[in-house]
Structures are given as structure tokens and as C-alpha cells.
């Protein structure tokens, strides 16, 4: 088995056994910062050798995907899940956005197998983070609402995740390629080791969420598995339609299938405070993240090949 998956299982097991294990929060922040910068840098380096204009259709299509997914999820959460409007809107926003951790695991999965992917996927990752948040706020508040959109925009666009990804992209893009070699040991050679540490902590966090699962019942569990499957299908279709390489299609499927647990919760807490944050984080961290990492990625690869 792949060691990074084993690190995740190790974290899950340690968490379920209530072992006294926790990454100091400063380390967790640093580790996730390195992952974001690495993903951005790598993308930026490869983008540098591409014409930018060719990317416009992909960018627009990705924006559309980010608008459509929460609109699909919302009525299901209201009708079948019987959630309050604010809760449904918030969960929908989580699933319309993306999880960088899941993306990183998928990149590692492709790299291990030597499968290539398009250079601009990190850019699409950034782009897919944003629209679902706006849709979520709109679904909760309505258009006429007294939302302070300036604050929402600041919260979203200048949050840690997006700034680090975009910053990495730009640095990679503008860097003299020869000079990049000197920073590779930190940002590229250590990538999988850092990812292993990150997944150990994610296992501990996911395990801590299992406790809330019983409380919120079967619907949430079902949603946390079915919604990614729907996302994966949409992502795969879109990826093929855009003519991405097979690895790129997989990453698009993974992006659509994954649910946010950093950018969206932070934005919702400020913009839709009446939504219960435990609900969406339980689904996203307790169900969807483990599902995608352990079962989803290989499954979506079959899908990519089947629909290819």
C-alpha cells in the first residue's frame, strides 16, 4: 500500500483509540502552507511554458461547475435532508468548493503511477474554491439580503488557502527556471513526506469527527458519499469535454468530488453565522475526506477510463 494512505489510516486508528497524539497547531499550519505553496509553484512553473489565452475556456467551465454544484446539492439537503435553510446552504457551499488535501493525495497517486496531467490544474483548483461560497451565501440570504459583500469577498479571496496557492503560482510562473532548482529540495523533494505528516493529522481530525456522526444520522453519511460520486461524474465529463489529459480529468473529478474544510467553514462562520458549523465539518471531514482518500481516487480513475 502507499505509505501516505497508511499514514492516514494510522491517524484514524490513533484517533479512534484516543491515543495522546496531536500535531502542534503551528506545525499543522506550516505543513499545510508548504503543501499549498508546492502545488502552486509546480503549477506556476509549468504554466510559464503555456499560452495563457488557451486557458480561458477551462477557467469559465470550472467557474460554471462551481456555481452548479451547490445549486444541485441545496434542494436535496432541504427536501430529503430536512435541514434548515442556512444549514443546507452552508453544506452546499462546502461541497461545491474543493479540498486541497484531497487534491494533493490525487497528485501523489498520479505521480506514483507516472500518469501525467495538465499544468493548469492548480489554477483550476484555485478557481473552483470561490464561486460555491458566493452561491452559499446567496442561498442562505437571498439576493436582497443585507450581506456585506465587500467583507465576504475579502474573507474569500484573501483567505490563507487562496493566497498561498495563487502566490505559489505567480512565484513559479515568474521565476527564472534555472534558479528554481535551489528551492526544490524543500518544496518538491519533501512534498510526499510533508503530505504524509499532513495525512496523519487529517486522520486524527477525521476520527474526532466520527463522534458527531451518530448524532446527525444516516442522511448525512449518505450525502457525504453520494455527493462526491455525483461530483466525480460531473468532473469527469467536464474534464473529457475540455480535452484534458487523463490525469487532468482525474484531478478535475477529484476537485468536484471533494468538499472544503478550511476556506468555506471560515467564510460561512462570518457570513452565515446561524448555520451550524459542526454539521458541515462532520460531513466534509468525517465522511467525504476519508471516503475520497481511501476509496474515491482509484474509483474515479476507473470512471475516467470508462468514460474516456
Amino acid at each position: 500500500m502507499d505509505p501516505i494512505i497508511l499514514f492516514f489510516l494510522f491517524g484514524l486508528a490513533a484517533g479512534l483509540l484516543k491515543a495522546e497524539l496531536r500535531l502542534p497547531s503551528a506545525i499543522y499550519e506550516f505543513v499545510s502552507m508548504l503543501l499549498l505553496l508546492s502545488i502552486g509553484l509546480k503549477g506556476g512553473v509549468e504554466l510559464a511554458s503555456q499560452p495563457f489565452l488557451g486557458l480561458v475556456p477551462d477557467i469559465l467551465a470550472t467557474l460554471a461547475l462551481g456555481l452548479v454544484m451547490p445549486l444541485l446539492a441545496f434542494p436535496v439537503l432541504i427536501k430529503l435532508g430536512r435541514f434548515k435553510r442556512a444549514d443546507a446552504a452552508s453544506i452546499a457551499a462546502h461541497y461545491g468548493s474543493v479540498s486541497v488535501g484531497t487534491y494533493a493525495v490525487a497528485v501523489a497517486w498520479l505521480t506514483t503511477r507516472g500518469i501525467g496531467f495538465d499544468a493548469h490544474l492548480p489554477l483550476l483548483l484555485v478557481i473552483l474554491e470561490v464561486p460555491a461560497i458566493l452561491v452559499g451565501v446567496l442561498l442562505a440570504r437571498g439576493i436582497s439580503g443585507d450581506t456585506d459583500w465587500g467583507r465576504v469577498a475579502h474573507e474569500v479571496l484573501l483567505g490563507r488557502g487562496i493566497v498561498l496557492l495563487l502566490g505559489g503560482l505567480l512565484v513559479g510562473w515568474l521565476s527564472d527556471p534555472d534558479a528554481l532548482g535551489a528551492i526544490e529540495p524543500l518544496f518538491f523533494d519533501l512534498f510526499k513526506g510533508i503530505l504524509a505528516i499532513f495525512l496523519l493529522e487529517m486522520g486524527l481530525i477525521a476520527a474526532a469527527r466520527f463522534g458527531s456522526l451518530r448524532q446527525y444520522g444516516l442522511f448525512l453519511v449518505g450525502f457525504g458519499v453520494v455527493m462526491p460520486l455525483i461530483g466525480a461524474v460531473l468532473g469527469t465529463l467536464l474534464g473529457h469535454a475540455l480535452g484534458l489529459m487523463p490525469g487532468g480529468v482525474l484531478l478535475m473529478a477529484v476537485l468536484a468530488a471533494s468538499a472544503s474544510y478550511i476556506a468555506v467553514p471560515a467564510a460561512m462562520r462570518i457570513s452565515v453565522p446561524e448555520a451550524n458549523p459542526t454539521l458541515s465539518l462532520t460531513a466534509s471531514l468525517g465522511i467525504t475526506f476519508p471516503f475520497n482518500v481511501l476509496l474515491g481516487i482509484p474509483l474515479y480513475w476507473r470512471l475516467v477510463e470508462a468514460l474516456g
Binding site: 497547531s25 467553514p265 462562520r269 462570518i270
Partner: protein, 103 residues
């Protein structure tokens, strides 16, 4: 205001979600506090355990020293604006301050 002068003020202590730090400090200044002190915290209350393991789960503990009317005004504002949607407790007590002109 010699070295030994001293007076009583109110100490308002707020324990709440770390996500509110930026908005709360803006509120405090607007409502007339001359300063504040913030400390990271974890804890448990009616909204369950908040153990700071995860960003959305961290607490902060804010202290504001001010005169009674301002303290009441801040407390009323926080209660009206944030109590329903956020983990938050508010405590008030008396303190003697050494340089009263400051607060």
C-alpha cells in the same frame, strides 16, 4: 493623578470563537474601549468542546478595562449581536486601576 491615585473600573471578560477576533476588536473600539488584551484559549460550554485543535474550534479570551457605562454598552451589543449564533460567555467584575486617566 499622582503615583498612588487609584479608582475602580469594570473588567469585561469575553470568551468566544477565535473567528470573531477581527470583528470584535473593531466593535470594541467603536464602542469606546481604550484598549483590550487577548489570549488564546480552549474550553467547553453549551456549544460543546472547543479544543483549538482545528481552526474553527479555537477560542479567544478578551479582556477590556473601561468605565461601567461603556462596559454595559459593549456587553449589551455583544449579547444582542453574537450570543445566538456563536459560542460566547460574558463576565463583568470590579477592578482597581492604578492610572485611571488611561481607561
Amino acid at each position: 493623578m499622582n503615583a498612588q491615585s487609584s479608582h475602580t473600573r469594570k473588567l469585561l471578560t469575553v470568551v468566544t470563537e477565535a473567528a470573531l477576533e477581527a470583528v470584535l476588536t473593531r466593535d470594541l473600539e467603536r464602542l469606546g474601549a481604550s484598549g483590550y488584551t487577548i489570549i488564546n484559549a480552549r474550553g467547553k460550554g453549551s456549544r460543546g468542546v472547543r479544543d483549538a485543535g482545528w481552526e474553527t474550534d479555537a477560542n479567544i479570551r478578551i479582556e477590556v478595562v473601561c468605565d461601567e457605562p461603556i462596559a454595559r454598552r459593549i456587553a449589551a451589543h455583544l449579547q444582542q449581536r453574537y450570543y445566538d449564533d456563536y459560542a460566547m460567555i460574558l463576565l463583568l467584575s470590579d477592578v482597581e486601576v492604578l492610572r485611571p486617566g488611561k481607561f
